[in-house]
């Protein structure tokens, strides 16, 4: 079996939801948080901490291709670093990062669970960089299987890791 582990964090099919039909940002945060919790990546306090943080510091980002949200919270709520991903059938409204009064129509949610402050840069460099890569976002939106999204992520991460 192919390993899901990158050097510092996990991306696996079991943490990816495709074309989810869900109505609110709270619901998708709870759903992705539950996946991370059930699979032992985060503590029980994680999801609530993400929800609380999203109110004060929203994470909706308007990329060229689509809206992407990156809900996350402090390292103290995380046991092992991982990224949980959902693509949405219908867009969900998140508030804009840096501009809480604005609304962003989001089709991709990438929930970041990072357990060590020292890994932050590495993980963000590999994952958040996707938000400005139009072609990668388009591929993710077009994917119909968790496996496909995992492969797209792996390909992108391999590419930026070489630099």
């Amino acid at each position: 079996m192919q390993s899901n582990k990158f050097d510092t964090f996990t991306i696996s099919e079991s943490l990816i939801l495709v074309n989810e039909e869900i109505e609110t940002k709270e619901k998708i945060i709870k759903k992705l948080g539950a996946l991370l919790f059930e699979q032992g990546f985060v503590k029980g306090s994680f999801t609530q901490a993400v929800l609380d943080r999203e109110v004060v510091y929203p994470t909706g980002l308007k990329a060229r291709v689509t809206g992407v949200a990156v809900p996350h919270t402090d390292t103290e709520h995380v046991k092992k670093s991982a990224v949980a991903i959902a693509t949405l059938k219908n867009p969900i409204i998140f508030n804009g990062m840096g501009a809480p009064k604005t609304e962003v129509s989001v089709f991709i949610v990438m929930m970041l669970a990072i357990h060590d402050q020292k890994l932050v840069i590495d993980i963000l460099r590999k994952v958040i960089l996707i938000i400005e890569k139009d072609e990668v976002l388009k591929e993710i939106l077009a994917a119909n299987e968790p496996q496909t999204i995992k492969e797209i992520m792996q390909k992108h991460i391999k590419l930026v890791s070489k630099k």
């Binding site: 980002l61 990062m97 400005e132």
Partner: protein, 103 residues
């Protein structure tokens, strides 16, 4: 020569600020600007340290009262309007550098 000090600010944590700071450093190096000091911090820490910096780049709403120039960090994360932002920051860095040299 005195360096131009830039503080990059994130919401509660420092994650996004560190990423934005990394990107900004790359951009400034591409523009051959090396005499800058760039650091990331959380929004809750900004009031305590803002005096030490010449410029703020933030992806959170800046609530601290200051007359220092403030730029949005969002284009560094989304890539939308990134080139324009870098141009503005480069111009501001040069302006501050000029002022430092004359004082």
């Amino acid at each position: 020569m005195k360096k131009v000090n830039i503080i990059v600010v994130c919401g509660s944590g420092v994650a996004m600020a560190m990423h934005a700071a990394y990107k900004l450093r790359e951009h400034l190096e591409n523009e051959k600007i090396y005499d800058v000091f760039i650091e990331g911090t959380g929004n809750n820490n900004l009031a305590a340290c803002i005096d030490a910096y010449d410029m703020v780049v933030s992806n959170a709403e800046v609530t601290v009262k200051t007359d220092k120039p403030i730029f949005s960090a969002i284009p560094l994360i989304t890539g939308v309007g990134e080139e324009e932002l870098v141009k503005e920051i480069v111009a501001k860095v040069k302006e501050i550098r000029e002022k430092n040299n004359n004082s």
